[in-house]
Amino acid sequence: METIKNALDFSDFPRIDLIIATTILIFLLTFPLLSHSAFATATAIQFFMFSLYGMGWNTIGGYGGQVDLGKAQYVGIGAYTTAVMLIRWDIPFWISMPIGMCLAVGWSFIIGYPLFRLKGHYFAIATIATSLVLKALFEVWAFVGAARGLEISPIKYIPPDFLRLIFKDDIYYYYVILGFFILGIFYMNWFRKSRLGFQLRCIKDNEDVAQSLGINVRWAKVKTYAIATAFVSLVGSFHACYIKAIEPEDTMSLDISILIALMAMLGGAGSLWGPIIGAGILIPLKSYLKEWLGATAGLVGIDLIIYALIIMLVSAFEPRGIWGIIDKVRRRKRK
């Protein structure tokens, strides 16, 4: 079908890009079989998770141009739905995850309509506010364990359990999230060429013009916000099965919202590869820097200082992120 063709068609990228992407893909596919480091595998899983978070964020934040700093609440909805359904009613991941997505998308519609009356900074801060409100509610709601959170018992289910996504070895989780990752890329490839994608670009350029062309601006934004929410919620459900213990402070904190936005913006908001590049740089940087430097008591925080400096430099000199730098260099070369 047209949609599938669109999703698989990367031809508008220069050939060298596709070669690099394919090489990296092959590397990622074979990596856990060759690597001996559990830490590396765990870091890679984090990378995939944040790439997916970032891809979702990118729809509304990048293509849509509305910086959203409240994504953590949807991580929470996805994670808690899966956890509660598994613990109380023994419902497997593959059913609870879509249900979580529906709940998350539902919530996003409820707050999305009023939210999108705002733009720019006001919108960003409002998204933070809504996320914090939901987190505060989860912290006192006994049904989800309040602030103590929920725990999925690692001994109750026999790994490997593909239905409930309970595994002992990280390698299984790796391939599951890799699968979602690849699907996510195809989806985003379709998205940027879809009608909604074009509408968004128009809106981002000049909202009034878009309105006058007959685009229902508000509705387009709300739809996109729902898509972003679905991505985030999916990974949230995965997170619950992976870590097997969730609590509001850990899963729905402002830090997570900020990280998601930062990685996508750093890599290049509004581009297909941007969020992946952003996560690909920042996640290993954070993990390994902390390993090398963090244990030395005297150097606490250096890893994040380097992180912060990179962000500051990129934002000041190339707001389109690292992908923007790559693009600029290419254009100059072409001349």
């Binding site: 409002a126 505060a136 006192v140 936005a261 913006m265 925080g301 250096i302 400096l309 934002s315 707001p319």
Partner: protein, 304 residues
């Protein structure tokens, strides 16, 4: 009745303290439309400055305020010329990203230099003292002083903005930077000045606050959020707006106190079991959301 009165007084005092924290944010936003996510970090730096100066020199902490003000002013100007200036050229998304980066940078720099534990002042004219004015109202001396300073600072800034030449220049830049430039106003310098004043006021607030709260490198974000709520409520760019919004937000954080008052007045057991204190700041965020949706201009704002 005691509970109600002490809640109201506490709310107002706290509100005035919060107002002065928010003042700097509204000035910066008013003049150049940039939201400083690192605002809370400036506060934190102000607190450390006040603390360390007092500890190093053995001076009365109140006397460290000018030091904090100077540090804040310089830091603001430095941030502007060294970084913010470049951000202004880019789209809003880059500005958000940039000030976030600044926030992370300052926070972790503080972590590196000062370590993660709480530090607090233990000596000084104001530390630990309070006035009991009857009817169950207890006024901690430090909060009282902070509130007093807040009033003075607001009044001072208002005079600066509305009655001085520089203030006029600042407001002109805020209204129309291009037009101001044509009039010969050095807008670059105005921007830097706005950052300087913004930074200075919040670091002074910090140096005062450290008399009754302990400081650690992570506390900035909460105050940034509260400051945003205040500025939004009061209207981005409005100085008197920030003051009154501060009072309102202070009262909002006292909602648990009012709830308690109702619990004891009407003697309803179920009310005592509602965990209101856990929601303290949630009401602030909720209020922000509602205001933004219903009246984005805020109470006194003139910027959209």
């Amino acid at each position: 009745m005691d509970i109600l009165l002490s809640s109201i007084v506490a709310g107002l005092l706290f509100g005035m303290v919060l107002a002065i924290v928010a003042l700097g944010l509204t000035i910066i936003f008013g003049v150049m439309d940039i939201v400083n996510f690192a605002h809370g970090e400036f506060l934190m730096i102000g607190m450390y400055t006040g603390l360390l100066t007092a500890q190093a020199t053995g001076l009365e902490p109140l006397l460290t305020l000018p030091v904090a003000a100077a540090v804040g002013f310089l830091l603001g100007v430095l941030c502007y010329f060294g970084f913010i200036k470049f951000l202004l050229r880019g789209p809003m998304i880059a500005q958000l990203l940039g000030t976030f980066g600044l926030m992370l940078f300052l926070r972790n720099l503080a972590l590196l230099i000062f370590g993660s534990e709480d530090r607090a002042l233990h000596h000084g004219v104001l530390v630990g003292k309070s006035f009991d004015i009857g009817m169950g109202i207890i006024l901690p001396a430090t909060k009282l002083a902070a509130a007093g300073l807040s009033v003075v600072a607001f009044w001072g800034v208002w005079i600066l903005m509305n009655r001085t030449k520089i203030g006029n220049a600042l407001r002109a830049t805020a209204l129309n930077a291009q037009g101001a430039r044509y009039m010969g106003i050095p807008t670059e310098r105005m921007n830097a000045l706005a950052w300087g004043i913004g930074g200075g006021t919040v670091t002074v607030a910090g140096a005062l606050i450290v008399n009754f709260w302990s400081v650690n490198p992570f506390m900035g974000l909460l105050f940034t959020m509260i400051a945003f709520a205040i500025v939004a409520l009061g209207g981005f760019g409005s100085v008197p707006g920030a003051f009154f919004a501060g009072l309102v937000v202070g009262m909002i954080t006292e909602i648990p106190g009012f709830w308690d008052f109702m619990t004891y007045t009407f003697n309803l057991d179920w009310m005592a079991n509602v965990p209101m204190t856990s929601f303290k700041y949630m009401w602030v965020y909720l209020a922000y959301f509602l205001i933004m949706v219903v009246r984005p201009r805020g109470l006194f704002g003139w910027k959209q």
